[in-house]
Amino acid sequence: MFPLTLLKPRAASTVREVFDEHAGYVWRTFRHLGIPEADVPDLCQEVFVVVHRKLGEFEGRSSVKTWLYGICVRVAADHRRRAHVRNERAQSDAGEQLASSSSFGAEARLAARAELQALLAELDDDKRTVLVLYELEGLTMKEIAEILGCPLQTAYSRLHAARARLLEMVTAARERGSEP
């Protein structure tokens, strides 16, 4: 008989492997969840310290990726709750990076980032999280509902509302004759 254990996703064996495979995505996720750029390394560090502590207990019931994004979402939520979060810095990050950038490719990339972040900033945290995990991180809605601990229908509703809001903003920008 086919051993059932082979059906379980393989748990990553070391923190280093998890880091090498996912650190870039963890970083990108925090960026899109609205964490000020200067705080992103701190939060990434938090994530991998938690991974270090918990990897031995990870049973492979979900993929490492799903587990990791779950940690990211909770670390970001904790970060937002802290009274000292420096909101004003988030708003100036993209502009400062753009100003200090020299190459055209980097400028275009930072400009696109600033545009995207301006759009995402219009969403509340719940909707933004679903949208980022779905549209940018490529998770399935089932995985997202699992990460957020909410019914699948709730996750769909948030995604629908977030997308509708973005479409609304793009339409309004077109009417004004500018980019969103």
Binding site: G56, D78, E135, L166, L167
Partner: protein
């Protein structure tokens, strides 16, 4: 219900502006330098272990490589961020007695760690209620300007404590107190406590070890180190 097409895949209902921005967003990854600096900050946390969580007692085989990685990583980090690397100060003397429970905080310049201690609930799906999470970064391990000791990462400091554990538990304990004073909201607070508890046991201070274990269990009820500490209880 099936998942809808993603913005970045385009389609008749997706404005090209959105498809473009989300496509760009998926490619907006950190630079190699960003990731190298992050790896350097994490130091021994990224080193292979025989079983997680095992940093306070990782295998001897990995020690030299881990230490080399930490030193190399820190050197790169400091070269990039703080200019010339200042030499490490004299080590804590072997004769240092076991410190009191709360030692005065000496001045030190921790290099990077401003993040508050990670909350293990982040991995358990039970986010802490507002106000109950770790201390703020503002109150964490930011340097005291009047530092007389050059920067040493909290990982390096605890690596020295862990190395001293077998031969000189009093020194290991002193180093963990030094860590507590220098990095009051360091991300490796749990690792520090585990080393300190092991040191107390080795010093024959079973009551103090039990007291500290109990405090650890209260502060970190979901810690992966909980079982390890219970298993090694006298």
């Amino acid at each position: 219900m099936s998942d809808p097409a993603r913005f970045r895949d385009g389609g008749p209902d997706v404005p090209p502006e959105l498809a473009r921005l989300f496509e760009a967003g998926t490619k907006d990854l950190p630079s190699d330098g960003d990731l190298r600096r992050l790896a350097a900050r994490l130091g021994p946390v990224l080193q292979p272990t025989a079983g997680n969580p095992a940093w306070p007692g990782w295998p001897t085989v990995g020690k030299l490589a881990a230490l080399a990685a930490v030193v190399a990583g820190s050197a790169v980090f400091f070269a990039l961020n703080f200019g010339p690397h200042t030499p490490r100060p004299p080590d804590v003397p072997d004769s240092v007695p076991a410190p009191p429970e709360v030692s005065p905080a000496p001045s030190v310049v921790p290099p990077v760690t401003s993040a508050p201690a990670p909350n293990d609930d982040a991995a358990n799906g039970s986010a802490a209620p507002p106000g109950s999470s770790a201390p703020s970064a503002a109150a964490s391990a930011r340097p005291n300007a009047a530092s007389s000791r050059p920067a040493e990462t909290e990982a390096e400091l605890l690596e020295r404590a862990r190395d001293a554990l077998s031969a000189n538990p009093a020194r290991a304990l002193a180093l963990t107190e030094q860590h507590r004073a220098h990095f009051p909201a360091g991300v490796l607070a749990q690792e520090r406590e585990v080393i300190a508890i092991q040191a107390l046991k080795r010093l024959g201070r079973a009551d103090a070890a039990a007291q500290r274990s109990a405090a650890f269990a209260r502060r970190y009820p979901n810690s992966a180190y909980g079982k390890k500490l219970n298993a090694s209880s006298p």
